[in-house]
């Protein structure tokens, strides 16, 4: 075996294993489906269109690189402990897909169930935690309201002293809370889709749509125009801009969400810890880095700059919860663009345009929904009907004042 390995290493014949599918040199004149945005959501939709519905004359257009937007910028937390029944049912289906995803895609996405603690520092937050726990349990999702004595057993690193500004009064404990390697998710869906004939075009920016009355007929890109049977838009922070090319106005504003990681150390923190009131969350990645985030920036912006304000406000609270972090060094800080909706729920499915489908409004909660978004949007495109699981997330809910107020969303004020 070692000799084989040595021979393999020294051989010049072997080709590098190419994870990311090559961009074809030309666009075809027409596609059955054009997906705008090669992030996790768009690629997952392409994958399930090919595997479940056998639709493979599909192109995915990406203006940058594959998985370079929200997919590669989130903090990779997966959970289903939301508040609204619509949200819980939806994210729970996602968790079920996540569990088998490494096998399904034949790539190690390092899905690891760590347990997820949402800390409550006020009576109101304890009440909301109980509410979420009861809704979760009713829908078969494992969540429980626990108090400091039990929190200490699950997370002994946490400062549970009462002698702090915001003492921990309780927590919503969600054992299935997990983390995963986010890049691998996009790569896995891309490989699986490409192997079935889907074309993935990187550095291909959609610059316009031709419209008839209630249809989009052509898609213009910086590399030429194509005829598209159906179009799915999955562009997160840029949703309003792409939708405006098709003449649609969305209930969305774009706000940066910043995050940072520390240097890598040995495993010391098992659960994912979130505080909704203090706007901090932390987990330790499989590589050993502490991955940390806080609240979204306070106003709309299309820039992914990093600010000192963010770092200061994050660590003011973080160090009270985890004093041992005081001598950790930060490795990187970055930002992604969140497409926030007024009710903190996504906008999915049909639009006023017959062949134009939307997957947007993913704010700070998009990564965990990647598999189920792909699954339900593929169904929506293939059948031209709104799947039951995302019925509540229709774009036209705002005109009917039928909002889905999701107070289980993280990083945003409610």
């Amino acid at each position: 075996m070692p000799f084989n390995l040595l021979r393999y290493g020294l051989s010049k014949k072997h080709e590098p294993w190419r994870i990311i599918p090559e961009t074809p040199s030309e666009l075809r004149p027409s596609y059955d489906v054009v997906i705008v945005g090669a992030g996790g959501h768009g690629l997952a939709a392409a994958y399930y269109l090919a595997t479940v519905y056998g639709i493979t004359n599909v192109a995915v257009f990406e203006k940058g690189y594959l998985g370079g937007g929200g997919t590669g910028r989130n903090t990779a937390i997966i959970r289903a402990n939301y508040l609204t029944p619509e949200g819980v049912a939806f994210y729970d289906q996602s968790v079920k897909l996540w569990r088998d995803l490494s096998d399904e895609l034949n790539i190690n996405i390092m899905y690891t169930e760590r347990g997820h603690l949402t800390l409550a520092h006020t009576d109101a937050a304890v009440r909301t935690s109980r509410w979420r726990a009861e809704v979760n349990k009713h829908l078969g999702v494992d969540s429980e309201l626990i108090f400091p004595d039990e929190i200490a057993k699950i997370c002994p690193q946490l400062n549970l002293s009462q002698d702090v500004r915001y003492p921990v009064l309780g927590a919503l404990y969600h054992p299935p809370g997990a983390i995963a390697r986010h890049d691998a998710v996009a790569w896995g869906y891309a490989m699986g889709a490409a192997a079935r004939g889907v074309e993935i075009h990187q550095l291909t920016e959609v610059i316009g749509f031709d419209r008839s009355d209630d249809c989009v007929t052509r898609v213009h890109t910086n590399r030429g125009s194509v005829v598209a049977g159906k179009i799915l838009m999955a562009v997160a922070g840029y949703s309003s801009r792409v939708a405006s090319l098709a003449g649609l106005t969305l209930p969305i504003h774009t706000v940066p969400l910043q995050a940072c990681v520390s240097e890598a150390v040995k495993p010391v923190l098992d659960p994912i810890v979130v505080s909704g009131s203090l706007h901090v969350y932390i987990s330790q990645s499989s590589r050993g880095e502490f991955v940390m985030g806080g609240a979204t920036d306070p106003y709309a912006l299309y820039s992914t700059r990093s600010t000192l304000d963010f770092a200061e406000s994050l660590f003011a609270e973080m160090l009270e919860l985890f004093p041992f972090l005081h001598n950790m060094r930060m490795l990187r800080q970055w930002a992604g663009l969140s497409d926030l909706t007024p009710d903190f729920s996504p906008v999915m499915g049909l639009t006023p345009l017959q062949n134009f489908f939307i997957d947007a409004g993913w704010g700070t909660w998009g990564f965990k929904a990647t598999p189920i978004c792909g699954w339900t949007m593929a169904e929506c495109l293939a059948t031209d009907r709104q799947p039951e699981l995302i019925e509540a997330f229709r774009l036209d809910r705002f005109e009917r004042f039928a909002l889905v107020g999701e107070r289980g969303a993280a990083s945003v004020g409610h």
């Binding site: 309003s240 801009r241 405006s244 106005t249 209930p251 504003h253 306070p298 820039s303 009917r400």
Partner: protein, 88 residues
């Protein structure tokens, strides 16, 4: 940010209340109300927004570039409204 009432102040003293929208006519339908409340242009470029200086509870208009976070200028609502009617 340069507050039209208080002069330059730290940005943490302000809150942003989103883009300025067209006022609705008195007889607007429920659908028009919903669109006015929830839909946003969310443009990338220079936009006019409502801001408030929190300690003095003073509301005003700021014109800001949402690509670079540069504040182009700030002005009172009266000045802004006068400009708008001047244009139309």
């Amino acid at each position: 940010m340069n507050c039209p009432l208080n002069g330059p102040r730290n940005i943490t003293e302000f809150i942003c209340a989103g883009e300025v929208k067209e006022p609705l006519p008195a007889n607007a339908t429920s659908q028009e109300h919903a669109r006015s409340i929830y839909l946003e242009k969310n443009r990338a470029g220079v936009v006019s927004e409502w801001w408030m200086h929190v300690p003095s509870a003073y509301w005003f208009i700021a014109q800001r570039d949402t690509r670079t976070d540069e504040i182009v200028r700030t002005l009172s609502y009266d000045a802004f409204a006068a400009e708008q009617t001047g244009h139309t």
